[in-house]
């Protein structure tokens, strides 16, 4: 009997050791080593370790311009997204606006598309062949059809595409304000805008600060927008890193730039964490009054706010509507940018689904995304699970290591993989990862780890430990308890994360641009290739078809996750 218990105990311990060893290897091989290697590689020259690369960076006009542009974009974006973001949140959540529900849906279109698809959508409207450009050119023959490019175009597209966090976080923050405080202020004679300035905004200020930092970081590491519509005059760091990395002899500069990007990100995120911890104003009310929308009593202001709200609605919705509409038209209509019933066709979809070559990138992306989405969930479940069982230095280390990629821009992670695993390395069994499809999946896993870990941990913590204790007291093993008790309780979150992660990777361009296998082109690269100026009506049709499919998948994802999985959990 005693021997049997010993065997059981040994099995249990060896299982834990195995999981611990795997997690340690994974963290070191893919989270720490590649990023650490960038720092070393940046300063490594043929003659040994040297800081000449720093001098080279300062002497390179392209690099300095890129840095300057990135910071200008980041600062401008932090201002413009706040103006637009706060406005659309006030319109959809705070003020009594006619058609607010419809407006809100319009403003939330950024939830279902982003990155390369969004940028291609905007360039389709405002670009050289865009519907707005063509309309303007027909009225003004001397109109410069290449007007939509450079800093202002990038800023415009990025402003309207990055208000997602405002809609997500600021909207909730405003809704959680105690309505009594607003009524109290009104009772004392404060006007609508005085109340916004003195009561509403101060309460949500920490949220605004946090969003601002995220916007700043978004601007700093912007990729798709400056790449496609920035033009030669407005190059920012991230696309520049991609370019420089391809030029022999310039890789060092690319590394340096990614290092600057990484360090700035880390500094700002430290600030972000401080703000997140320190400044939140919790409502001190014991009973809050349910939030009631406010009327704008000033007549001309009422009209003005409505006009701007609907103008923004059109700006937000137009790319989505046009992408979907043009995906059902023939190439002539796309080329002419003219919508008509006679041009309606399902051919584009039939072509995509019948032509193996055309649909392959979609399946490539789907394949990589599902692999990464499932793998990251398993790895994080192991990490979070072991941390719950054993609260010690090792498990804490794993938990913090899981947050590392959160502090690093995806460009840096990609470069880290490129510079580290381009030759056989002992830590991965002397294999070379460059040129394999695994490297892309691994990079995807890495970028998904922080958010997956945070959400799964929160969900895990909400499972009462008494369930596990009860199962243990009834004789269940740890694994059995996990499988039969804990996992079913975590299941909605696990499924939600898999679906959300899958969706977020499907149209990825940023990582794929660096790490994709030449024969296994992912969808993001295909769309980028087709979004060039030379693209014909046929190829543009393909972009629209893929974009429509991706938006449909995203919309389904959002409704599955928020309408079913996480809703069930709330119940």
């Amino acid at each position: 009997m005693k021997q049997l218990i010993n065997v059981k105990q040994w099995k249990k311990n060896s299982m834990r050791l195995l999981i611990g060893a795997f997690l340690l290897w994974f963290v070191i091989a893919f989270l720490i080593y590649p990023n650490f290697n960038i720092i070393l590689a940046s300063f490594r020259t043929e003659s040994g370790f040297s800081f000449t690369i720093v001098r080279k960076l300062f002497e390179s006009p392209i690099a300095m311009d890129g840095l300057k542009n990135s910071f200008i974009l980041a600062i401008s974006l932090a201002i413009t997204t706040n103006i637009v973001g706060i406005f659309i949140v006030l319109v959809s959540e705070y003020f009594e606006i006619k058609g607010a529900k419809l407006l809100k849906i319009g403003y939330m279109t950024t939830f279902i598309y982003g990155g390369i698809i969004l940028v291609s959508g905007y360039s389709m409207i405002y670009g050289e062949n865009g519907i707005v450009t063509k309309t303007l050119a027909s009225f003004f023959p001397n109109f410069n059809v290449q007007w939509f490019g450079g800093f202002w175009a990038v800023l415009f597209v990025m402003t309207v595409s990055t208000t997602t966090s405002h809609m997500m976080f600021l909207g909730n923050a405003i809704k959680s304000i105690d309505n009594y405080t607003i009524e109290a202020a009104k009772n004392m004679g404060a006007s609508s805008f005085y109340i916004i300035r003195r009561i509403v905004l101060p309460v949500v200020l920490p949220t605004i600060f946090a969003i601002t930092i995220l916007q700043f970081l978004g601007g700093l590491s912007a990729f798709a927008a400056p790449l496609i519509i920035g033009g030669k005059d407005f190059q920012t760091i991230a696309p520049l890193i991609l370019e420089l990395n391809k030029i022999p002899g310039s890789q060092g500069l690319a590394l340096m730039l990614s290092l600057v990007l990484g360090l700035t990100t880390i500094l700002l995120l430290i600030l972000f964490t401080k703000l997140e911890k320190g400044g939140t104003f919790f409502s001190i009310s014991k009973t809050k009054a349910v939030y009631v929308k406010q009327k704008i009593n000033h007549k001309s202001l009422h009209i003005f706010v409505h006009a701007i709200a609907y103008l923004l609605f059109i700006i937000y919705v137009m790319p989505v509507v046009l992408i979907i509409a043009f995906s059902f038209t023939n190439s002539a209509a796309i080329h002419e940018v003219k919508l008509s019933f006679s041009a309606f066709t399902l051919d584009n979809y039939l072509t995509v689904f019948h032509d193996i070559e055309k649909i392959t990138p979609f399946f490539n992306s789907a394949n990589f995304s599902i692999q990464a989405a499932i793998a990251v969930t398993i790895i994080v479940l192991l990490g979070v699970g072991i941390r719950r069982k054993h609260d010690n230095l090792f498990t804490q280390f794993i938990e913090y290591a899981f947050l590392i990629p959160w502090m690093l821009p995806s460009t840096l992670i990609a470069i880290g993989f490129l510079t580290t695993y381009d030759e056989p390395k002992l830590i991965i069994g002397n294999k070379v990862l460059i040129g394999t499809t695994e490297i892309l999946v691994l990079a995807y896993i890495i970028i998904l780890i922080p958010i997956t870990s945070r959400l799964l941990r929160a969900s895990y913590q909400s499972v009462d430990q008494d369930y596990e204790r009860a199962a243990k007291s009834l004789g269940a093993s740890s694994f059995y308890t996990f499988r039969r008790i804990v996992l079913p309780m975590l299941l909605p979150t696990v499924l939600a994360l898999i679906v959300l992660n899958f969706n977020s990777l499907l149209s990825d361009y940023n990582i794929a641009a660096f790490l994709s296998h030449p024969l296994k082109e992912p969808l993001g690269l295909l769309i980028r290739r087709y979004t060039s100026v030379e693209a014909t009506g046929d190829t543009q049709a393909l972009i629209y078809v893929f974009s429509t499919i991706l938006m449909a998948i995203a919309a389904i994802t959002v409704s599955i996750v928020y309408g079913w999985l996480l809703k069930e959990k709330k119940k």
Binding site: Y180, E183, A184, V203, F281, F282, T287
Partner: protein, 333 residues
């Protein structure tokens, strides 16, 4: 002071208040009492101006303010949550309305200090953050913030409902003291009958959007005019008047039908003059510390409850007792 003439409040098809006519006199502590959903808060919000009545007029100091906006009515409000602005300190909270009125810095400071002293808030309290205040201090800040604007009327919406029992009793006394000190006309909303009875000059009892009774605390407690008031305020023994006549063997009851009520304190276990005597047995004892509540079953089959303040008169379940009731203590409705 406040006249509510034919007030009707509706939300779509739902009638929250039905044709109400009441007058609130100057300096009075007037309580709107009733269960949740009876329309009392809607009425308070109509007086303050947050809700517009679908019918009727609101007259304050002889002036029709029905269509007047919230801030122009001269009505101060203390909310259920106190609604202390969380991003401002105590001083800024109290000064808020004065700043809106664009008073000079000096005038604001003087007024805030003056009112703070009156509600027992020290200068140190004024610099504190709103989140550092206790429930009692929050209430004083909310009252000071409303009173500093010198309103004609103070409206309080269940300000004690979220506090623990001890603090509630303490603040009840303080609130009444402040009201007397300022002599301000006060409209107070509560669902707590004890609060209403102890603090009010007058109570209006509401049920389902209808005024059930208006009177002094003594009136509504001792002379309820409806079944609802008789059961909502105070604890009573309730009987069908018809069956009561048989049980009590009393032939001269004024009305043969309807319900009859007898307050618990009117069921005696010690002999009193001119009483009806009923033999019974103790079936339940509830001990409350300062008093006990007993349930009896009489030989004639009647169930009666009483409250016994004299704790020397302890009884146990199964004890035989003689109960003494006076016929004039019965309320027949």
């Amino acid at each position: 002071m406040i006249e509510l003439q034919g007030i009707e409040i509706t939300y779509d098809d739902f009638i929250a208040m039905n044709e109400l006519n009441i007058t609130i006199n100057e300096g009075e502590f007037f309580t709107l009492l009733g269960p949740s959903g009876c329309g009392k808060t809607s009425l308070l919000r109509t007086i303050t101006g947050f809700v517009s009545p679908s019918k009727g007029r609101i007259i304050i100091d002889g002036k029709d303010v029905t269509d007047e906006s919230v801030e122009k009515r001269g009505v101060g409000i203390v909310f259920q949550s106190y609604a202390i602005f969380p991003t401002m300190n105590v001083f800024e909270n109290i000064a808020f309305g004065l700043r809106v009125k664009r008073l000079s810095k000096k005038a604001i400071k003087e007024k805030v200090l003056e009112i703070a002293q009156m509600v027992d808030l020290s200068e140190e309290h004024l610099q504190r953050n709103a989140s550092e205040l206790s429930g009692g201090q929050q209430q004083r800040v909310a009252i000071a913030r409303a009173l500093v604007l010198q309103p004609k009327i103070l409206c309080l919406d269940e300000p004690l409902s979220n506090l623990d029992a001890k603090l509630r009793n303490q603040l009840r006394v303080e609130l009444k003291r402040l009201q007397k000190q300022f002599g301000i006309t006060t409209v107070y909303v509560t669902h707590d009958q004890e609060e209403a009875l102890t603090m009010s000059d007058k109570i209006a009892v509401f049920n389902n959007g209808k005024l059930e009774q208006l009177g002094t605390p003594n009136d509504v407690f001792n002379n309820p005019t409806s079944d609802f008031v008789a059961t909502f305020i105070g604890d009573s023994n309730v009987f069908e008047t018809k069956e009561l006549a048989t049980f009590l063997n009393a032939k001269n009851l004024s009305r043969p039908s309807g319900k009859s009520y007898l307050r618990l304190n009117h069921v005696h276990t010690k002999p009193i003059k001119e009483a009806i005597e009923l033999e019974g047995v103790v079936t339940n004892v509830e001990y409350f510390g300062l008093y006990s509540k007993y349930t009896f079953k009489t030989v004639s089959g009647l169930t009666l409850r009483n409250v016994e303040v004299d704790l020397s008169n302890q009884m146990n379940i199964g004890d035989n007792v003689t109960l003494y009731l006076k016929q004039r203590d019965f309320i027949h409705l």
